[in-house]
Structure formats: C-alpha cells, structure tokens
C-alpha cells in the first residue's frame, strides 16, 4: 500500500511540476487563490535558469528607442553606468528608503578598503620620504637621477590619487569557484576624472615562457585590450599606470595569454574586478 501511495504521490507531483513549467507566466492565472510557497520556489528556480547563459549586450539603439517611447529622452542619452558599481551604488530610483542602509554597507566596505589602502598609503609615504632623503643626500647622476625622479613623481601621483575625492578603487580577485591562482590580488585606482589609472598586483604566479598577463577593459560593446605584463619571479609585485579608459566600461579583468598582443581574451581569466569604491 505504501509503495502504491508513494507512486501516486510521485505521479501527482510530476503532474504538478509539469503543469507549472508549462504554464510559466509573469501573471497569476485567473482564479488562482493564494500563492503556494513551493510553486513560488519552483518559479524562482525557473527564473534563475537564464543566469547560466553568457550575458549578451543588446545594441544601444534598443535602449534609446525604448526610452524615447516612454518619454524618457533625457534617460535615453544618459550613459550606462561606467563601472561595475552600478548595482552597488544607490540609484536615484531606489529612493531615500534605501539610502541609509546602502550608505551603511558602502561605508563598511569603504572602511575595509580604505584601511587596507591606508597601510599601502603609509608604505608609499615612507618610500617617498626615503627617496627624497636619498636624492638630497647623494649625488645621483644621469640615468639614475632621471629614474629616481620618475619613481618619486609616480609615487607622489599615486598617493595623490588615493586621497582624491571621487577616485575609484577596484579590488581584483581570483575568478570562479576554483581559481587557477587563488593567492593573486590586484588593486586598480582610477582618477576622479578618469583620465588615468594605476594597477598594483601581487602574488601573481610567474609567467611561463612566452606567456604574459593582460589587462582587459570589458565594455558594453566588447573587450578592449589593455597593457600586458610579465611576472618573472615568485611573489613579485607589479605596477602599471596608463592614461584613459574606454567608454562604457563594465568591468576589468586580467587573463594569462600566450599572445600578449591578442585583441580578444583567449587565456584563462585570473582576476576580475569587484564593485568599485568611490572615495568621498
């Protein structure tokens, strides 16, 4: 009897799930009384399925047409949020209701990042002071002097960026659940006017012969190649600075490539940027 009952229950459950899948609809069927929690859960499971697909960017024209149709001409021309932080920042439409809790979360995140950066910051200050002392105390000449002055200028600029209101800091962390280089980390700092940036990476594994790490700026229209760099020794730190960022930037990633001059990412993704923190 138990086996018979079990089969009947199973058949009922099969029918119920089959019906639910067949009748998946954004609206409640007419006559539906209340919401069955299990049906709700299964509907959410179905709603999650498309997340397994690689995201696809529609053409910008779709957004323009849509907003023109709803009378949002101003919004139609508004740039899509530049960095991945679009979700992390309070949107105008989210309203004041979420402003305080969101601000609290951002403040906590900011405190963590700034605290971490402060350690770096102190280190940078010490390096600058030491360089200045060395420059004053020694008589460097020619190329050495040029190099020392360039390093001093670079450090000063980085410190200035780290204290600049409106600058953005992104932490790049290992990508995926089983990252190839789990210890690797990088920090990217973008100037408030987005005219220049610098990236500092650490604990990246040394590159095999012929391979190099490459920075990618992932935009609404595709991946834009950035500089490539090699790491030759264990636990080496790297620093890269450059000017300009592509329009419509969505996120930043670093891959390990066989061809450092490749135009599209081909190698494994090593690091990927999290939401940026904007310095207030």
């Amino acid at each position: 009897v138990n086996e018979q009952e079990r089969k009947e229950r199973e058949a009922l459950e099969e029918g119920r799930v089959a019906k639910l899948i067949e009748e998946l609809s954004p609206d409640a069927p007419s006559g539906e009384a209340g919401v069955d929690p299990e049906a709700r859960a299964l509907r959410e499971v179905a709603g999650l399925l498309p997340y397994a697909l690689a995201p696809r960017a529609p053409s910008a024209e779709v957004r323009r047409r849509l907003l023109a149709q709803v009378g949002g001409a101003g919004e139609a021309d508004r740039a899509v949020p530049a960095l991945v932080g679009a979700r992390g920042e309070p949107s105008a439409a989210a309203g004041f209701r979420w402003a305080l809790p969101l601000a609290a979360v951002l403040a906590l995140a900011l405190a963590g990042v700034v605290g971490w950066q402060e350690l770096r910051h102190g280190e940078q200050r010490r390096v600058i002071a030491e360089l200045e002392r060395n420059l004053g105390a020694t008589s460097l000449e020619g190329a050495e002097l040029v190099e020392a002055r360039a390093l001093l200028a670079r450090r000063s600029e980085q410190v200035a960026m780290l204290t600049e209101r409106g600058a953005e800091i992104c932490l790049l962390e290992p990508y995926g659940e089983r990252p190839q280089f789990p210890r690797a980390r990088a920090t990217m700092v973008v100037a408030a006017d987005r005219s220049h940036w610098f990236l500092r990476g650490e604990r990246l594994d040394p590159c095999d012969q012929g391979r190099a790490y490459k920075i990618w700026f992932e935009t609404e229209t595709g991946s834009v190649p950035g500089p490539s760099f090699r790491v030759d020794g264990p636990d080496a730190e790297i620093e890269i600075a450059a000017e300009g960022l592509p329009e419509g930037l969505v996120t930043i990633s670093i891959t390990l490539e066989h061809d450092p001059d490749c135009e599209t990412p081909e190698g494994p993704q090593v690091l990927r940027a999290g939401p940026p923190i904007r310095l207030l």
Partner: protein, 195 residues
Amino acid sequence: VKSREKSEQQAEDAALIEGIVVRRAEALADLYDRYSHLLMALASRVLGDPADAEEVLQEAFLQVWNQAGRYDASRSSVSTWLVLITRSRAIDRLRNLRVVQRTATAAQHENPETHASPRGVQNVLNAERRFRLEEELSKLPAEQRQVLEMAFYGGMTQSEIAAHTGIPLGTVKTRTLLAMRKLRTALAEDVDQLR
C-alpha cells in the same frame, strides 16, 4: 555581506518597479541597465536571432512600463517576473515564426559553453550566480537537462517534448520533476534570497 548585497538588490528592484508605476522613466532606465544583458541572453537563446531578440527585449520592457502595477511581489521576485515576461514574449514570437523545430533541435545539441563570453557581465554577483547555475545544470544528467531546456527555452509542453523525442510522456514528466527538484535543492540559497 554578499547575502546582504543580494537582499538590497531585491529591495532596489522593488523600488524601481514602484518608480515605474509612477511613470518615472529613469526607473525604467535603471531596471533596463540592470537586466538587459540577462534578458537579451534569454531572448537570444529562445529565438536564435539577435534582431528578433532585441525586438522582444524592447517589447518586454514596454510591457514592464505599461504593466508594472500588475507586478505581484508575493508571486515572484522582480528578476523572475522580468525573465518570465521576456520568455513569454520570446516564445510567442517563436511560435509565430514557426521555428519550434529548429529551436528544439538546438536545445538538444547546443553546448552552453558556445555562448561563453566575458562581455557585458554587469556585476560580480551576477557572474557568481551564472557560474553556480552553470555548475548545477552541468551536474544534471543530460536527459534531464534536455527536457528542461526544451520546456523552458523551447516553450514545448511535456506532450510535445515526448512526441519530439520519442520518449514516453511519463518519462518526460519524471525527468522534469527530478531536474527541478535537484535545482530547487542546489539553488535553495538563491531561491530564498529571491523570496
């Protein structure tokens, strides 16, 4: 922290729907920026043609604009509501185009990795969710994944799947149930955050 961020996303989504109800175009723009990549991927998967998918995407968001007041938070999260609107419109178009056969074949043979591209990932949480979904779907036996994809992306009824594949209807139903049960268990955390 991530759990809190996800909860905040749900709350912000709901606030955007409220904004749309009172005809604030910027709320629609924000919602579009959040979900257009996901929904474009869905429409493209159903229809196979980017131009058709873009039309469906536009229609879906127009429907959101016109029917935001009908959104019922007790029935589904905003993201699921958007997915179901887009899916319904894409499948309607699919049926109109009379290309059910083509898509069903694609659903059987397509390797999801052929879509793999890092482009347009809007945020890290979505990327994490994507990898989890990919992983959980890859754990399903191929025959269970097949019926699920034919039903969800092909819009086929269980009887149509049975007729198309030559599998007994009872077996199709069993496979669908098993697939949904496994996903329900594996994705319990995501589902709870959406409720």
